[in-house]
Symmetry: C2
Subunit: 393 residues, 2 copies
């Protein structure tokens, strides 16, 4: 096991009705003037925003609001948010929405106290030294941003998708009410589930040996997703299945399943160019990319893929031919994604094979290599896009 530091100080408040106490938590964590940041009209229509405001009012906490966060949140709205926070002397950001909304809030949070352009933290390795505190009311189980220090933002000009990270961006509290996710369309639910599983797989495929505890924790989250996702697709109002998925989504990405080992993260990077270029859902892009990535790299460690096949997908181990087991596991994953309604190739996603050179170019690897499990070149990335383009069941 490699040396590591694990720090997840967020207070998670989980269950029915918990959004009604968001005012108390803002107070507990020192907020005296709040920016309520949210996305589309659904938080308004569902009455969630009204309940959030009610809770703030009851606690005597003034607020301003900024809606309009889109999936793949844009830099342009963040500039607007930073100005609003400065003008209104906001000292706490309350994100009401999904991962995009939280990531946009994080962009604002690090931008407000910073003299330069907030994009510096996304376009370079510049270290975050200060940020406004954030709280979240989560409305979709997917990104895990409610428990992470990461943020992914898209620069409107050129649709460049880049990330920033710091422990200072970890939310002070996150309110998770699974009931809020029951109104999500099946497609979005499945995109979220795919994202959660991808967060685990990025950590599962490691070159660090003998990390049984994190292997098993990874498998715990994956097994949960394999059981619960089809249940919510079949019955969107299944509270217990929604609850298991929602908590799995947080556990998948606060790094408890990833500490002490090398991690890969190439599938995320390769996907980012798809959702950047086509503005498709991140989860849908991952459904197309991740099994293709697996097929491209599995020979690097056949036994690890066989382990996934046996422990996660319940495959029988072929002791005479572990490679067959490994490939069966990958096939199970793709079939699962198909069954929950995810695209499995470029045409189902709305991407074009002829754009591959553009995607590779935007990925920006040049002559370099990247990846914690298998280091990939631009050529390798092109091949993975190629597998993803043509994939079938």
């Amino acid at each position: 096991m490699e040396n590591f530091s694990f720090y997840s100080p967020t207070e998670f408040v989980f269950g029915k009705g918990t959004e009604n106490s968001c005012g108390e938590y803002v107070k507990k964590y020192g907020g005296s003037k709040v920016l309520i940041h949210y996305g589309s009209g659904s938080a308004v229509k569902s009455g969630l925003l009204a309940r959030v405001k009610d809770s703030l009012n009851k606690c005597g906490i003034p607020y301003v609001e900024l809606g309009g966060v889109k999936p793949n949140p844009r830099d342009t709205l963040i500039y607007e948010g930073i100005k609003l926070c400065r003008d209104e002397k906001v000292d706490f950001i309350l994100s009401v929405g999904g991962g995009s909304c939280i990531d946009s809030s994080k962009g604002i949070a690090l931008g407000v106290p910073y003299d330069g352009d907030f994009w510096d933290f996304y376009s370079t390795d510049k270290e975050v030294k200060e940020a406004l505190p954030i709280g979240t009311v989560l409305t979709i189980a997917a990104a895990g941003s409610e428990g992470s220090g990461g943020s992914v933002v898209t620069k409107e000009d050129g649709m460049l998708k880049r990330d920033a990270g710091s422990d200072l961006l970890r939310p002070r509290f996150s309110i998770l009410n699974p009931l809020l996710t029951c109104t999500l369309p099946a497609y979005q639910t499945a995109c979220g589930a795919t994202d959660i599983m991808a967060h685990v797989f990025e950590r599962y495929f490691t070159n660090t040996k003998e990390v049984e505890i994190t292997d098993r924790l990874c498998e715990a989250v994956l097994l949960t997703m394999v059981k619960e996702t089809p249940r919510v697709i079949a019955d969107p109002n299944n509270y217990e299945a929604r609850a298991n998925i929602m908590w799995a989504g947080t556990v998948a990405h606060n790094d408890i399943v990833g500490v002490g080992r090398s991690q890969d993260w190439n599938s995320h990077g390769i996907e980012h160019e798809l959702s950047g270029l086509y503005d498709c859902a991140h989860g849908a892009g991952l459904a197309v990319i991740m099994p293709a990535w697996m097929e491209f790299v599995y020979k690097h460690d056949v036994m690890r893929f066989a382990q996934m096949a046996v422990r996660v997908w319940g495959c029988e181990m072929n002791f005479e031919n572990p490679e067959e087991t490994a490939l069966k596991g990958i096939a199970c994953f793709r079939k699962f994604l198909h069954e929950i309604g995810m695209p499995i190739n470029f045409s189902e996603l709305g991407a074009k094979e002829e754009d591959i050179p553009v995607l590779v170019e935007k990925f920006g690897l040049g002559d370099g290599k990247t990846g914690g499990f298998v280091a990939l070149s631009s050529e390798d990335v092109a091949k993975i896009y190629g597998i993803a383009a043509k994939a079938t069941l």
Copy 2:
């Protein structure tokens, strides 16, 4: 899933050599004058205490010290520690040792700012409103106190073992270097492993339905312990196995494997009277009590015990007779404990069957009942002691 709040703000610093940066972490978390609290001479002999002091010196942090913590830490030393901290204006407690040392530190931490007798927090439900901050350098994987808000202390007068708990008692940081555990005798290592597994089982046996994510996380920790414990017993210097166990011990008890569900905790309560009366190791007492408790309660939920048997112990499910599978799982657990060198009955532990009435009396249930999985009466507790007294493989 039940509504819950999960809050584990401790910064865990894991790996080789990490104790050498304890001074920096004390500084980071605001300590300006430290009490170094430790147990026996082993921290002195091994040179650990010298390294800790060296790190504090390098950071210019003054300290006083108080050694002498015993297993089943005593109230008497805590009174001494409280006085010392007040006299010396200590504002940070650094625990260098195992669970007993941390629990003793927590007793001092809550006692220093409190006007009354610190024992009030242990003997009643009195809420902790204030406590000195704590940091830990852990030397044994067992109690999980490095990541929990709980503390168990024994009152010397009458050997009463009682607990207190508060988020304010969660350490600010915990330094976990698995190398420090390599010098532990096999018996203590096995006691620690048993305690870790018991922390999971107390949460695993629940009446809450459909909590797949926490079930699977519980099983992740248990599977790790089943694999790694025999490896460290066979080879005390196996760093990777030590590392897996150490991190499993923390995960087992910061409640990530227990949220959103009822928990039991009777085995711990029943054991506490054994280690209270005979001053035996807590883990050894649990090895005797926990399988006996399982045998007494398994009919309450045969399928849950069958699940443990199949998923944790790798038993074949007997679909015609699940009860047989359930009992096989319990037998596997007891056999495992025996194989790692733990006692499995009263005589191996050094307890006496004729003391059972005394143990039940001290347990103090009177005509009441207690327990989150199965509510037990005094009579039930006596029966469990009876099963434990006579158990064989």
